[in-house]
C-alpha cells in the first residue's frame, strides 16, 4: 500500500499534482487566481485539432474557438486540399452540396482520414439553423468516426457562441486525443476520493481497492461548502480519515474551484469522468456502449468504445431536457422529486401531450393538462417521455447509438425515465447502481493512476 498523501488546501506557489491543462481564467466555477504550477517538467506539445467548418471566420466566432482551444493547449490546423477537388468532392463523398465551404468540409475530412493531414482530433462545426450544413456536418462527423480512430466532435454555432461553451468539449477532445493512457484505467487501486461538483448536486465517493466504500451527496449551494459536506459524509460512511486518501479527482462545473481547494491530483471535465464511471459501474468496460447522462442542468450522449469516448454531444441550452424540468414537474405535482419516478411508473404518457423543448412551454403543457383533468401519474409519465424525446432529437442524432445503452445522472433515478428511453429506442436500458455518482466514481477511478506504488 502506498503512503497516504494528506489532503490540504493549495497555497500560492505550491506544486499542484494535476495532469490536466491549466484552468481557464474567468471560467465559470474556475479559480480566479492564476493556477499553481503543474508538476510536468516539459510543456506538452500542442494538440492539433483539424477545424472542419463552413466558415467560422464569417460567423464572428473564430476568436471564441481559438480562445477555447488555447486553454486546453490545442491549436487549430486547416487540412490542405487541392481546390480542384471541390468540383468533384460532392459526387466523390456522396453529398452534392451547393455551398463551396460545405464541399471544402468534405474534402478536408477526406484529407484527415487519408492521413494527408495529421490531426489529433477533429472539430466539425457549422452554422446553427442551416439545413444543408446540418446534413453535411452529421455525415462528415460520422465519416471521420467510421473511417479513422481520430476523436471527433461536432457543434453548430451562432454568433453568441463563447469560449466557455466550448471549453468542456475541447477539454474532453484533447483528453481523448492525447491522454488515452489516463482513460485506459479499468481498476481502482488504493484509497481514492472523487468529487463531482455538479450544477444541482455535489457528489463524493471514497473508493478502496476497486470498491465504493463511502458515498456523500447533497445540493450544490456554496460550491466549496457543498463539496466539503459531501466529502465528510463519504468519509464517515467509509470510516476513514481524510489523511488516508492517497489521491483525489474532481469533476463537474465546480471542478477547478474544488480541485484547487483540495489540491486534487486530477481535475477533469465530466464527459471523460462520467463515461468512465458509467462503463465501470455498468461493468461494460470492453466493447461499444452508449452513455446517456441526464444531469441537473445539461445532458450528454457519449459513444464509448472500450471505455474511451469516441463521439459525444452535450446539450445545455434548454433546461427542458434536464433534471431542472423534473424539479419543476415535481413541484407542480406537489410530490418530492424522489417520488416522481414511482408516480410516473403508474401513469401512461400517451394520455398527456407534452413538449419540453422549452422548460417554459413544457410547464405550460403541464399546467394545461392538469387544468383539463389529466391525472398526475400520467403527467409524470409524460414529463419523462418528453425529456427523453428531446434527448433523442437533440443529442442521439449526433452519436451512433450502440448497445448497451447506459443511462446515468441524477435523472436516471426517476424510474419513468429509463422506461420511456427504452420504449423510445426499443433497446434495453441499463441503469447501474449508483448511477448518479458516475462523475465522482470516474474521478476516483482515474485518480487512482496517481497513487504511488
Amino acid at each position: 500500500m502506498s503512503k497516504a498523501k494528506p489532503l490540504k488546501m493549495a497555497n500560492a506557489g505550491e506544486e499542484k499534482l494535476c495532469l490536466d491543462s491549466e484552468p481557464p481564467k474567468n471560467f465559470e466555477g474556475g479559480p480566479e487566481t492564476k493556477p499553481t504550477k503543474s508538476k510536468q517538467a516539459k510543456p506538452e506539445a500542442k494538440v492539433k485539432i483539424a477545424l472542419v467548418s463552413c466558415g467560422t471566420e464569417y460567423g464572428g466566432v473564430q476568436p471564441a474557438f481559438e480562445e477555447a482551444a488555447a486553454k486546453v493547449n490545442a491549436e487549430f490546423i486547416y487540412p490542405e486540399i487541392d481546390i480542384k477537388s471541390l468540383d468533384t468532392i460532392g459526387k466523390d463523398f456522396g453529398i452534392e452540396a451547393a455551398s463551396g465551404d460545405l464541399r471544402l468540409m468534405m474534402a478536408r475530412a477526406q484529407a484527415v482520414v487519408r492521413g494527408e493531414t495529421i490531426a489529433d482530433g477533429v472539430f466539425v462545426t457549422t452554422c446553427f439553423r442551416c439545413a444543408e450544413a446540418a446534413i453535411v456536418r452529421n455525415e462528415v462527423r460520422r465519416y471521420i468516426h467510421q473511417k479513422s480512430n481520430i476523436p471527433v466532435i461536432s457543434y453548430s454555432f451562432t454568433e453568441q457562441t463563447d469560449a466557455v461553451t466550448l471549453y468542456t468539449r475541447f477539454e474532453a477532445l484533447t483528453t481523448i486525443a492525447k491522454r488515452r493512457h489516463l482513460l485506459a484505467r479499468e481498476v481502482q487501486h488504493g484509497i481514492t476520493a472523487g468529487i463531482d461538483s455538479g450544477s444541482t448536486t455535489t457528489k463524493a465517493v471514497i473508493m478502496k481497492d476497486n470498491k465504493i466504500i463511502g458515498i456523500g451527496w447533497g445540493p450544490t449551494n456554496e460550491v466549496l461548502d457543498s463539496a466539503e459536506k459531501a466529502l465528510v459524509q463519504a468519509l464517515e460512511m467509509a470510516k476513514i480519515d481524510r489523511s488516508e486518501i492517497q489521491a483525489m479527482g474532481t469533476t463537474g462545473y465546480g471542478r477547478y474551484l474544488v480541485g484547487e481547494h483540495y489540491n486534487a491530483d486530477l481535475i477533469q471535465e465530466e464527459i471523460t469522468t462520467n463515461s468512465k464511471g458509467a462503463v465501470y459501474l455498468a461493468d461494460v468496460q470492453k466493447g461499444p456502449a452508449t452513455v446517456i447522462d441526464i444531469g441537473g442542468m445539461d445532458n450528454k450522449a457519449i459513444s464509448v468504445e472500450d471505455g474511451i469516448p469516441g463521439m459525444f454531444t452535450m446539450g445545455g441550452i434548454c433546461a427542458g431536457a434536464s433534471g431542472r424540468f423534473f424539479e419543476t414537474v415535481a413541484k407542480r405535482l406537489n410530490v418530492d422529486i424522489t417520488e416522481l419516478g414511482d408516480l410516473a411508473m403508474k401513469g401512461l404518457q400517451e394520455n398527456v401531450k407534452m413538449n419540453s423543448y422549452c422548460i417554459v412551454f413544457g410547464t405550460q403543457s403541464l399546467v394545461n393538462s392538469l387544468a383539463k383533468g389529466a391525472l398526475p401519474k400520467d403527467v409524470a409519465a409524460a414529463a419523462c417521455r418528453s425529456v427523453v424525446e428531446q434527448i433523442y432529437q437533440q443529442q442521439l442524432q449526433e452519436v451512433d447509438v450502440k448497445e448497451p445503452v447506459i443511462l446515468v445522472g441524477g435523472s436516471s433515478l426517476i424510474k419513468g425515465v429509463p422506461r420511456e428511453l427504452s420504449n423510445l429506442l426499443n433497446v434495453k436500458v441499463i441503469v447501474p447502481e449508483n448511477s448518479h455518482l458516475i462523475g465522482a466514481v470516474g474521478a476516483a477511478l482515474l485518480a487512482s493512476g496517481f497513487v504511488e506504488e
Binding site: 463552413c54 464569417y58 464572428g60 466566432v61 481546390i83 468540383d87 455551398s99 471544402l104 444543408e132 454568433e159
Partner: protein, 159 residues
C-alpha cells in the same frame, strides 16, 4: 467609371476584366482589407466579430445562420454601392466562391433587385474554348455599354 458588383465576389478574372474596361470592380477582398487593417478590432483572421452578423440583420432575419449574416455584412454594402453587376453562374471553385450557397442566393437576389436589370449581365461560365472567347467578349461588350456613374439608375428608380 462605374462601380461594378461582381459575382463570384472574389473572382480575380472578373475583377481584372472590369478594371481593364475602365470601371471599378467591387470585390470582397477590399471589404476584408478594410476589416483586417482596422486597428481597433482584433478578431483574426477576418476581424469579423459577433457584431458583424448583427449588421447582417439588415439583409437577413435573425433565423438566418450567423455565417450568412456575417458574409452579408461584407457583401450587402457592396451591392448597395454598385451601379452595375456581372453575375457568372456555374463557376468552378477556382474561379471564385463565397463558400455559402445561402449567401450566394441572397446576394444575387439583392443585385437583381437593387440594380437596374439592364445594368446586370448574367452569364454562364464557359465549358470550352469557343465559349470562353464569347464569355470574355460578352463581358467586355457589356462593360463598354455601361453608362457613366451619374447616368446609372438603381433598380428602385427604374421606370
Amino acid at each position: 467609371m462605374v462601380k461594378v458588383f461582381i459575382y463570384p465576389t472574389n473572382s480575380f478574372i472578373l475583377a481584372d476584366l472590369v478594371t481593364r474596361a475602365g470601371h471599378e470592380p467591387l470585390v470582397i477582398m477590399n471589404q476584408v482589407r478594410e476589416k483586417v487593417t482596422s486597428l481597433s478590432v482584433d478578431s483574426p483572421p477576418l476581424n469579423i466579430t459577433p457584431e458583424d452578423p448583427n449588421l447582417g440583420l439588415k439583409y437577413a432575419a435573425i433565423e438566418v445562420p450567423a455565417g450568412v449574416r456575417g458574409r452579408m455584412s461584407l457583401m450587402g454594402p457592396m451591392v448597395e454601392e454598385a451601379e452595375a453587376g456581372i453575375i457568372v453562374e456555374d463557376t468552378p471553385a477556382d474561379f471564385g466562391c463565397s463558400g455559402c450557397n445561402r449567401t450566394n442566393e441572397l446576394v444575387k437576389y439583392l443585385a437583381r433587385t437593387n440594380l437596374d436589370r439592364s445594368n446586370v449581365l448574367e452569364i454562364r461560365y464557359p465549358t470550352n474554348e469557343d465559349q470562353m472567347h464569347d464569355f470574355v467578349y460578352t463581358i467586355l461588350e457589356f462593360l463598354e455599354t455601361l453608362p457613366t456613374g451619374s447616368e446609372t439608375k438603381k433598380g428602385g428608380d427604374k421606370k
